[in-house]
Amino acid sequence: MYYPTHLLYTKDHEWIKLDGEFAFIGISDFAQKELGDIVFLDIPSLNTVVENEAVFGTVEAVKTVSDLFMPLAGKVIEVNTLLEKSPELVNKDPYGSWIIKVQVNLPIDTTHLLSAEQYTNLVQ
């Protein structure tokens, strides 16, 4: 499995890509594989401010359902509409398929997030 080093991770298997005051959030290769075929992403948090570690949505796979947790506090300003029609993109390309775009308050505290190396150790 593959964990790009330019991303940060959580113990709940989200990845975070920071871009100024914005963060793109998706789920890791490990997470998509554990879930199996993903068929629906339910993101009711669009346009709301969500606390760190709170649930921002749910991912439905054929056999299982799993909550998605905020890796950072912030406002969910966009949901990846490509995934509405093609949720399986998360399986095919987990790092190319961001799920939400979040506006965060600067400066961002990332001390609780994991590096690719730390995350790899967690899931191996």
């Binding site: 199996g36 075929d37 068929v39 629906f40 339910d42 009711p44 749910t58 439905e60 054929v62 056999k63 359902v65 399986e88 399986n91």
Partner: protein, 363 residues
């Protein structure tokens, strides 16, 4: 944890393994949707050796089976199979099963893996007629070869003309050089195909022969995950989800295998249930939005009254829609009624629909 004779093969194939009914089983190989499609379009092989086989033998075998099962086993002749239920003293379902008539005095019951011990104990308890009862589950392997190319695959391996085995019939013959294989035109997918029962020592050899024979059709191994989505598209009940000790065969839509022209455990209770009308029924429904119903989610009427619960649910890989089974108040159990499934505190609309969810050559 128990293993089947093929557990090592599944691991080598990279299957995701998990415990099911005390047995280490393959849940998926390449992915549920891909495996599902393989079975609907071509041919796939399931190792379902965790299932149980119980032999009932002797001159009293039929009378015992008649007494404990809901269907009419007297209708069976040699080489025929019947779907049936074991009922408990209250009219609930101990298990659903297949009854094979091997000969006039010998029957094989094929039972759910999770119920082998329970069924065996129950049948012995009800055996006042002194039939011989033997649990041979540990010696028998079961492969389900399912899909439109299953027949062409297996035909290469046997002299038996498989076209001459009708649905719910079987023959015992040599297949892939292995003698005494029960070749049964049955399955749990609605995709057509055969189920093969044979001695577990032959399992790895037979597995390889089947995959060689099916290579030209793109044969693939299929896990229990796709087994569930395939059976759910057909509206087939899964014991422990849709039926159990507290649900009656009539409520579960299994009236067609509940025969009142004979006596069986709790037949009077069920007869009263039938004449008095059922208060709840197992129905199929499709979701009108994207959310997926799951076991135990609550079902509500349009007025917000709690009218039932979901027993099985999934995204149908064929229909690309979420579908489910559930028990609801009979008043709401008519086709096209709109009901609401509570999913993450949201009322998601669903439409009661006719089963099976999809049309296949079997239905």
């Amino acid at each position: 944890m128990k293993e089947t004779a093929l557990t090592r093969v599944h691991r080598e194939l990279g299957a995701k393994m998990a415990e099911f009914a005390g047995c280490n089983m393959p849940i998926q190989y390449e992915g549920i949707n891909a495996e599902h499609e393989t079975v609907r379009r071509s041919v796939g092989v399931f190792d379902v050796s965790h299932m149980g086989e119980i032999i009932i033998k002797g001159p009293e075998a039929l009378s015992l089976i008649q007494k404990i099962t809901t269907n009419d086993a007297a209708k069976l002749t040699d080489g025929k199979v019947q779907y049936s239920c074991l009922t408990n003293d209250y009219g609930g379902i101990v298990d659903d099963l297949l009854v094979y008539r091997l000969d006039i005095d010998t029957y094989m019951l094929v039972v759910n893996a999770s119920n082998i011990e329970k069924d065996f104990t129950w049948i012995k308890l009800k055996n006042t007629v002194n039939a011989e009862i033997e649990n041979i589950s540990d010696k028998i392997s079961l492969l389900a070869v399912q899909g439109p190319m299953a027949l062409a695959t297996l035909q290469k391996l046997t002299k038996v003309n498989l076209l001459e085995i009708p649905y719910y019939n079987f023959q015992i013959n040599t297949l892939a050089g292995i003698s005494n294989v029960i070749i049964s035109n049955t399955g749990y997918t609605g995709a057509g195909g055969f189920e093969l029962y044979f001695s577990s020592v032959d399992a790895p050899v037979l597995w390889n022969h089947i995959f060689d024979a099916g290579k030209q059709f793109g044969i693939r191994p299929i896990g229990l995950g796709a087994r569930d989505t395939l059976r759910l598209e057909m509206g087939y009940c899964l014991y422990g989800n849709d039926i159990d000790d507290t649900t009656s065969p009539l409520e579960a839509g299994l009236g067609w295998i509940t025969k009142f022209d004979k006596e069986f455990t709790a037949h009077q209770i069920l007869r009263e249930q039938k004449s008095g009308g059922l208060s709840r029924r197992l129905v199929g429904f499709e979701m009108l939005d994207r959310s997926i119903p799951r076991h135990d989610y609550k079902i509500y009427s349009e007025n917000g009254v709690h009218i039932g619960k979901v027993t099985s649910g999934t995204q149908s890989p064929t229909l690309k829609k979420a579908v489910g089974l559930g028990y609801i108040d009979s008043d709401f159990a008519t086709e096209n009624t709109t009901v609401f499934v509570s999913i993450r505190n949201k009322m998601c609309p669903a439409r009661i629909c006719r089963l099976p969810f999809i049309r296949t050559q079997i239905s």
